[in-house]
Symmetry: C2
Subunit: 130 residues, 2 copies
Amino acid sequence: MIGIILCGHGHFATGLYSSIKLIAGEQENFDVIDYEEGMSSEALSEKLYHAIQKLHMVGDVVILTDIAGGTPFNESAKLSMEKENINVISGVNAPLLLDGCFKRDLPINQFVEEIVNSSKEGVKMFKRIS
Amino acid sequence: MIGIILCGHGHFATGLYSSIKLIAGEQENFDVIDYEEGMSSEALSEKLYHAIQKLHMVGDVVILTDIAGGTPFNESAKLSMEKENINVISGVNAPLLLDGCFKRDLPINQFVEEIVNSSKEGVKMFKRIS
């Protein structure tokens, strides 16, 4: 089973997880890490490191983050250099995460490809045009 | 100035806003509405209605939601049928919202097009490949 770590600035991670939990229920092998105001990047990295260690016992790991170039993404990318089979994705939205919750037994490359597609297909616009 | 309403299941909206606030600071003419467990769709609709009324005094309104087909998106779409110049978008992520914070004086159609592009461009993948 693919382990998932959800991590972002402020309460991005706990907020998004609370949304998905209402739709898809509680998830196993799933860690939620908030990078809160005042927290050092070292402290965040340590939390990510321990979550990766734990989830790697079950399978490959995907770290889902809020925004490329931010500390959660950067620290995740650094840690992914130290081990194989860690994927880091930025720009995560609810359709990506929801799709991911149902596909955690896919091979890792297919998993990443499919959830990234779901992310893009999940952006829909609606307006009255007349 | 384009008014923004951010709305989703659980604490999606307050969580995502807390992330963006750390990066771009507090936003004006910006409402954050959580659709919490146990809340009725009517109660959510009423909150959305009042937020739209308030923001419409300043300009056009864009409602950013977590997922198409969910109650926050559906109730927003219903309300957008009653008035002109309300756009509803699903699948919102941090790159979309961050870009939106800096472009609130654009014409509404251009605003929507640009932030949807930012949403898709903001989905990046990173892994060690050897």
